[in-house]
C-alpha cells in the first residue's frame, strides 16, 4: 500500500488539502458577510435609520432599537468598568496569594462560563422580579454587565500585570502610598490597553440577545427613562426573522448590527495603534 504513494506525493497532497480547508473557511465567511450586505444594502436608507418602526417592524425604521442598544451598552459599561477595573486592581495589586484570591479568580472564571440564556433567566428572576426593576434598560444593562464583567476583569488584570514592576518601586521609593502608586502610576500606564479590551468587550456584548430577551423587554417605543423597556437591535432582528415579519427589514438590521460590531473592533485596533508607545499625560 505505502509503496503506491511516495512520501513526497502524500506530503504534496496533504498540503493541498490544508490549503483547501483554509480556503473553505475563508470563503464561507465571505459568503455569509457578502450575502447579508448584498441583501441588506437596498434597505439601508436614512429613513430606515432615523424612523420608528410601523406594523411591528414590517415597515418604517429601527431608530428605537438603535437607541435601545445604545442605552443598554451605556448601563452595562458604566457598571462593568468601575467594578471590573476595581476587581482587577484588587487581584493584580492588592490580593494576598491564598484562598480568598483563588476563590475570587474562580468566581470570575465561573461567571465567564455561564451560558447567556442562564444569565438572562437570572436577570429576569433577580432584576426584573425580585428587585422590581421591571423590563427596563436598567435590568437589561445590568444583566449584560454580569456577562461582560469577567472579560473586563481579565483584560484589566492582564494590562495591570504588564506594567513594569520598576514603576511601582520608583513610586514607593518616593514615599507614595499603595493607592497613590496604583492610581497615579500603574493604572494610567495600563489605561490604553484596558480601554482596548473594554471596547472589544462591548463588541461582544452588542450582539448579545439571550441575556436581554427577558430583561430589557421588547417595546418598540422610544425610551424616555432608564426604567423604560426597550427592544435592542439584535432582539428586534430575532423577532423580525423568527416571526416572519419582514426579511428585508431583518437584512437591514443585520447590516446595521454588523457595521456597529465592525466599527467597535476597528476603534479598538485604532486605540491600540495610537497608544503603541505608552505615554500618559499627568
Amino acid at each position: 500500500m505505502t509503496s503506491l504513494i511516495s512520501p513526497a506525493t502524500s506530503d504534496k497532497a496533504a498540503k493541498v488539502m490544508l490549503w483547501v480547508s483554509a480556503s473553505i473557511a475563508i470563503l464561507t465567511l465571505l459568503f455569509i458577510l457578502g450575502y447579508i450586505v448584498v441583501q441588506g444594502l437596498p434597505v439601508l436608507t436614512l429613513s430606515f435609520l432615523l424612523e420608528s418602526p410601523r406594523l411591528s417592524g414590517a415597515e418604517g425604521g429601527i431608530l428605537p432599537a438603535i437607541v435601545g442598544t445604545f442605552c443598554l451598552m451605556l448601563v452595562a459599561l458604566l457598571s462593568a468598568v468601575p467594578i471590573g477595573i476595581g476587581a482587577a486592581i484588587y487581584l493584580a495589586e492588592y490580593a494576598p496569594v491564598g484562598v480568598v484570591t483563588r476563590i475570587i479568580s474562580f468566581g470570575v472564571e465561573c461567571l465567564a462560563g455561564i451560558p447567556s440564556i442562564v444569565i438572562g433567566l437570572f436577570g429576569y428572576a433577580f432584576l426584573v422580579i425580585y428587585l422590581g426593576f421591571g423590563f427596563s434598560i436598567i435590568s437589561g444593562g445590568l444583566a449584560l454587565m454580569f456577562m461582560i464583567l469577567p472579560w473586563v476583569v481579565r483584560v484589566s488584570e492582564e494590562s495591570l500585570k504588564a506594567v513594569p514592576g520598576g514603576l511601582r518601586e520608583g513610586s514607593f521609593a518616593l514615599g507614595a502610598t499603595k493607592w497613590q502608586t496604583v492610581s497615579r502610576v500603574v493604572l494610567p500606564s495600563a489605561v490604553p490597553s484596558i480601554t482596548t479590551g473594554v471596547i472589544l468587550g462591548v463588541g461582544k456584548a452588542i450582539g448579545e440577545t439571550a441575556v436581554i430577551m427577558f430583561t430589557a423587554g421588547s417595546s418598540l417605543l422610544m425610551p424616555t427613562s432608564f426604567f423604560d423597556p426597550v427592544r435592542a437591535l439584535p432582539y428586534h432582528l430575532y423577532i423580525l426573522a423568527s416571526e416572519g415579519i419582514s426579511d428585508p427589514m431583518a437584512y437591514g438590521s443585520s447590516v446595521v448590527l454588523l457595521v456597529m460590531v465592525l466599527v467597535i473592533n476597528l476603534a479598538a485596533v485604532a486605540i491600540q495603534r495610537h497608544y503603541g508607545r505608552h505615554h500618559v499625560r499627568n
Binding site: V97, E169, S171, A173, L174, G175, A176, V185, H279, V280
Partner: protein, 252 residues
C-alpha cells in the same frame, strides 16, 4: 567625626526559608558616601532595600535584628514605611521614569505628599533639575515625555525626582550599570556633589567607582559582611584575604 545616620545591628533576613543576610552590623555616617561591593547574589541589593523598607513588597521576606535610622528602629511598630521613604530616597539599577512628562515626574513626589501650589512646584522642579545637572539639557523640554530621554538622562531624572522629595538619605542600587561611560562619569560627578548635603549608600559592581566616590566601603560575601572600613584602607590594606582577592579581581 560625623554622626551615625543609619546603623544595622545583627541584621538577619530570610526570603522564605533561604537566608540572604547574616548578622550584618555596620554604621553609615551622615553626609558621607558608603559603598557596598561584593559578587553577584551576595545580598547587596537586599541590604539596601531594607533601609527604606522596599523589601516590605516582597512576599515571604522576614527580618530580625535591628536597623536604626537617626536612632529610631526602621522596622519598629511606630515606624511608618511611607514616612520613612520620604526621608530615604532610592535610585534603581534600571532607570524607571514614569511614563509622564519630565515635569510631572519630578513633581510626582511633592504632589503625593500634598503640595498643590503651582509656583512652589515649579521652583522644586527647577531646583531638582539643577541639582542633578539636568536643567541645561531639559530645562526647555519640561512637557516632553520622560521616556524619550536617553538612558543617562533618565537616570539623572530619577535622581532629580528623588531630590524633589528632600530626603536625608539617598540609596543607589548600581545606578550606572545600565549606562555608558560618559553617563556614568556624569552620575559619579553628581554623587560627589550630592554628598555635601545627603547621606549616600551606593551598591556597585565597579571597584574603581567605589574607590572614586565613597568614603567607606563594605564588602559582602554570601550574605555576610566580610569587612567594613575607610575606603582607602579597604582598597589598599584589606584585613581579610577574601576582600583582597575580590578587589584584585581574583574571583567573582
Amino acid at each position: 567625626m560625623s554622626e551615625i545616620e543609619i546603623e544595622s545591628r545583627n541584621l538577619d533576613l530570610w526570603y522564605g526559608s533561604a537566608q540572604a543576610l547574616k548578622k550584618i552590623s555596620m554604621a553609615m555616617p551622615e553626609k558621607k558616601v558608603t559603598a557596598i561591593i561584593g559578587p553577584s547574589g551576595c545580598g547587596k541589593s537586599t541590604f539596601i532595600r531594607c533601609i527604606n523598607r522596599m523589601n516590605d513588597l516582597v512576599k515571604g521576606c522576614r527580618i530580625t535584628g535591628e536597623l536604626l535610622f537617626e536612632g529610631a528602629d526602621i522596622y519598629g511598630n511606630d515606624m511608618d514605611a511611607v514616612e520613612l521613604r520620604k526621608k530615604i530616597g532610592m535610585v534603581f539599577q534600571k532607570p524607571n521614569p514614569f511614563p509622564m512628562s519630565i515635569y510631572d515626574n519630578i513633581a510626582y513626589g511633592p504632589r503625593v505628599h500634598g503640595l498643590r501650589n503651582k509656583e512652589e512646584l515649579d521652583r522644586i522642579v527647577e531646583e531638582s533639575l539643577k541639582a542633578s545637572a539636568l536643567w541645561d539639557e531639559v530645562g526647555d523640554l519640561l512637557d516632553q515625555s520622560a521616556v524619550d530621554l536617553s538612558g543617562g538622562q533618565q537616570q539623572r531624572l530619577c535622581i532629580a525626582r528623588t531630590l524633589a522629595v528632600k530626603p536625608k538619605v539617598i540609596l543607589f542600587d548600581e545606578p550606572c550599570s545600565a549606562l555608558d561611560p560618559i553617563s556614568t562619569a556624569k552620575i559619579e560627578d553628581l554623587i560627589n556633589m550630592l554628598k555635601h548635603d545627603y547621606t549616600i549608600v551606593i551598591v556597585t559592581h565597579n571597584m574603581q567607582q567605589a574607590a572614586r566616590v565613597s568614603d567607606h566601603t563594605a564588602f559582602f560575601l554570601l550574605g555576610e559582611l566580610v569587612e567594613f572600613g575607610k575606603t582607602k584602607q579597604i582598597f589598599e590594606l584589606p584585613d581579610k584575604k577574601s576582600t583582597e582577592d575580590y578587589i584584585t579581581g581574583r574571583f567573582g
